[in-house]
């Protein structure tokens, strides 16, 4: 490539790269398919004429991959004296003409050229003075000046190509792979085809300040159509964009339980895979139409974007796109769903037949109602299942569970219990435990009683035993009274009394004592019953009172002792009563010394 007037080699290089850089910047924002295809390709090796600096970094403007048009640029470019004309053509796909640039409308024409002129910097020196001047330093100076000027120009060019109307079309085509009625193409030539009068009348012009070189100047100008007049052709059938259903997997904004209902089954632990049940609310959730907005309103934007522009000024330096001529569809902020996987994963719904799913545990009695099975760890794990009146509201699947007793007697649900997942189990447990109200909840055969922030679980009890346990204490005393008084002729042994079987009141007392001593402990097989403290708190229910007193200090040994202590306390009260009776009897028996003697013996032995 040679210039008519021999520029210094460095300046010559700047001129060459000026053409290449201009083409690169323009095509990068006007050739949608080339840009997208070649985006990931590495930059081609720099031209052998470009020197050490990579071509994409010339003028300190590192651009993306070089378009295909630049690959052979150095080969077909014969001379820097030839102008470089880049026509940006808008094509209609529905036209009968081919998709080449021949049948479209030129919406932009970029002209880059190097012109020698007498006004160049070196022209004043004249050819004779060139030999006398310090060519090296001046060449460097000229080079720096041309390079700086070109650098500034390309900054402006990079911005200008994005302000012109054709950029909107480019963005639209580049951001979507859909078939569009329009297309952008380009044509590169080394000669300028003059516009027709009509075309020229509709074009605006803008020219950059030329870059002065030693014997000429570099110029860059553009003629562009300020208004893109496009007939909005009906778009062909286009595939619907993938619509994401935000609520399907349960976004955090939806109801908590709905999140679980929409969890995919493959994200569930295998043990819960079989436990699926559609709830009414889950059905509603699934049937609800999903209406996530498309990532870009591309269906309507292209038409709006290509509406005729409205010119505000005749100033060629300004271009005022139509307000609706927006850029290519903007990416909307994430409206997609957010996967919500509670930890640990749970099945979306509990099973109606827990007995078929849960492993049998001898400690528990299974009932038909599915309930929430929380985990309680260290006394603060998960929430208790709701009361039977509320269980329909919170139903979650359950896994196998195990009940273990801690050494301190508090009942803890083992680690196999189903957890609520992300639901605040601890909070629920605190709510439950702090309710302070006596409540009876059902937990697959377990009856929970909550009294005064204490939880007791009874297991493996027959209903009769439970009924017996929960009877009123007074009733028991009455029963004992009836047994003692009515059985005046009954058989009874009392070792303390020497096995005498008398029908006197004293004998009755002895018989009663014997019965009490030999009577089977209440709930003898219950491990949770503990020794009560001497003062018994008054409760609305005697059973709950009894349960409140229970504490497990040890696992096995103190049970019988506690029973004995309890029965002993009752017996003591009974004995007090009988003491009174005895006193009265003794009063009567003063007349009979023998009876008095016999009655004293058991009395002596009273505790």
């Amino acid at each position: 490539m040679a210039a008519a007037a021999s520029e210094p080699p460095m300046v010559e290089q700047v001129i060459t790269e000026f053409f290449a850089k201009s083409l690169h910047i323009i095509l990068e924002s006007r050739s949608p398919y080339e840009s997208s295809r070649s985006f990931m390709r590495p930059s081609p090796p720099s031209s052998p004429l470009s020197g050490s600096q990579p071509r994409d970094r010339w003028f300190n403007l590192a651009l993306r991959d070089c378009p295909a048009a630049l690959e052979n640029f150095d080969l077909w470019r014969q001379s820097n004296l030839e102008p470089l004309v880049i026509d940006i053509v808008m094509l209609h796909r529905d036209s009968s003409s081919s998709s080449t640039a021949e049948g479209g409308k030129i919406i932009e024409r970029w002209v880059i050229q190097y012109e020698t002129s007498k006004s160049g910097i070196g022209s004043s020196h004249g050819s004779k003075n060139r030999k006398s001047r310090n060519s090296s330093s001046e060449d460097h100076s000229l080079y720096r000046r041309a390079y700086k000027g070109s650098t500034l120009l390309f900054r402006s060019l990079h911005l200008l190509v994005r302000l012109l109307p054709a950029y909107n079309l480019f963005r639209d085509l580049n951001s979507s792979g859909r078939i569009r009625p329009l297309n952008l193409s380009h044509k590169i030539s080394s000669f300028v085809e003059p516009f027709t009068r009509a075309e020229d009348a509709g074009m605006k012009h803008y020219a950059f300040v030329p870059i002065e070189t030693l014997f000429g100047h570099l110029s860059l100008s553009v003629s562009y159509a300020p208004v893109l007049e496009v007939v909005a052709a009906p778009e062909p059938t286009r595939p619907m964009p993938t619509e994401l259903i935000p609520d399907y997997v349960g976004s955090p904004t939806t109801d908590f339980l709905r999140q679980f209902s929409s969890l995919p089954s493959d994200g569930i632990a295998p043990a819960c895979a079989a436990m699926t049940r559609r709830h009414s609310w889950s059905i509603d959730h699934a049937a609800r139409s999903s209406g996530s907005p498309s990532p870009s309103s591309m269906n309507s934007e292209p038409r709006g974007r290509l509406q005729p522009h409205v010119l505000m000024h005749d100033n060629p330096q300004t271009a005022r796109p139509h307000p609706n001529s927006t850029l290519s569809p903007r990416k909307k902020k994430g409206t997609g769903f957010e996967e919500y996987y509670p930890s640990p994963p749970l099945s979306p719904s509990p099973s109606r037949s827990p007995s078929a799913s849960y492993p049998k545990n001898p400690l528990f009695r299974y009932e038909s109602a599915p309930v929430v099975i929380p985990t309680v760890r260290d006394g603060g794990g998960s929430a208790l299942p709701p009361s039977p009146s509320l269980k329909g509201k919170h139903q979650l699947p359950s896994q196998s569970y195990n009940l273990t007793l801690s050494p301190d007697g508090n009942s803890n649900v083992g680690k196999d219990l189903v957890r609520f997942g992300e639901y605040d189990n601890k909070k629920n447990l605190q709510k439950v435990l702090s309710s302070g109200k006596d409540d009876l909840g059902y937990f697959h055969g377990l009856k929970f009683t909550r009294t005064s922030s204490k939880l007791f679980i009874m297991d493996e009890l027959d209903e009769r035993e439970l009924a017996f346990v929960w009877e009123d204490r007074d009733t028991i005393i009455d029963q004992l009274n009836r047994a003692g008084i009515s059985d005046s002729g009954g058989q009874g042994t009392n070792q303390d009394t020497g096995g005498s079987m008398t029908r006197t009141p004293a004998a009755a007392i002895c018989a009663l004592l014997g019965m009490l001593k030999t009577a089977q402990g209440l709930g003898e097989s219950r491990p949770s019953i503990a020794a009560p403290p001497p003062p018994v708190p008054q409760e609305s229910s005697s059973v709950q009172r009894v349960m409140t007193e229970e504490r497990c200090d040890t696992t096995a040994a103190p049970n019988s002792a506690l029973l004995r202590a309890r029965t002993a306390a009752d017996a003591l009260e009974e004995l007090k009563k009988f003491k009174e009776i005895k006193e009265s009897i003794l009063g009567r028996a003063k007349a009979s010394p023998r009876d008095a003697m016999e009655g004293q013996k058991p009395a002596d032995r009273d505790p």
């Binding site: 970094r57 300190n60 403007l61 590192a62 651009l63 720096r144 390079y147 700086k148 000027g149 650098t151 500034l152 120009l153 900054r155 402006s156 990079h158 911005l159 200008l160 994005r162 302000l163 950029y167 963005r171 950059f208 300040v209 505000m312 330096q317 300004t318 271009a319 005022r320 796109p321 307000p323 001529s325 927006t326 850029l327 903007r330």
Partner: protein
């Protein structure tokens, strides 16, 4: 060396538009005056349907955002006022070069004045009565829409203004170095 100044066209905008407008203008100026190697970064201003270019320098972006936030805070305290944001480029030279003097002198070689008129949305009109509220609301929305469109066009004009000015005068610009030019963003106090 004389200090070249450029006064950009005044823009009338609402407080919520300050950030986008100032980002667009300031980064455009910086892009023209950052002559070090840059990898341009396209930024889509959704509000005004404008794509402008940044230098792709995180520190610069952070600095610009900080100054914009300061200006927004100032504008909240001084509503409905005309103001200027000034972007200056300067060189630092030792005032009295010597062993023990570290005084430097700033020599400004270019200043850009961004003229803004921040208007309060309430200043557009009051809703006098409930009966006419719907009509006023409709008219207000139309006015707001037209004002918004006009602002977008004005911003583009300002960008063209920057392009023109940046290319017309180049001799005062210092030589290209490996660092961005010293600069400061001044906001009213």
């Amino acid at each position: 060396m004389n200090c070249e100044t450029c006064h950009l066209n005044e823009l009338e905008l609402e407080p919520r538009e300050i950030k986008d407008v100032l980002r667009c203008i300031l980064h455009t100026i910086f892009f023209h005056r950052t002559l070090t190697l840059v990898r341009p970064k396209d930024v889509d201003c959704e509000r005004f349907q404008i794509t402008y270019v940044q230098c792709g320098l995180p520190d610069l972006e952070k600095e610009v955002d900080e100054k914009i936030n300061q200006f927004i805070a100032w504008a909240e305290k001084h509503p409905n006022r005309r103001s200027q944001v000034c972007l200056s480029f300067f060189d630092e030279k030792n005032k009295h070069p010597g062993w023990f003097s570290n005084k430097t002198e700033r020599i400004y070689w270019e200043q850009w004045f961004i003229n803004l008129h921040v208007i309060s949305p309430k200043g557009h009109g009051k809703q006098h009565s409930s009966k006419a509220q719907t009509n006023i609301t409709g008219e207000a929305s139309e006015q707001a829409s037209s004002r918004h469109d006009a602002l977008g066009s004005l911003i583009q004009e300002v960008l063209f203004q920057i392009i023109n000015y940046a290319n017309e005068k180049k001799d005062h610009i210092p030589p290209i170095s490996d660092r961005i030019f010293n600069h400061e963003i001044s906001i009213p106090r």
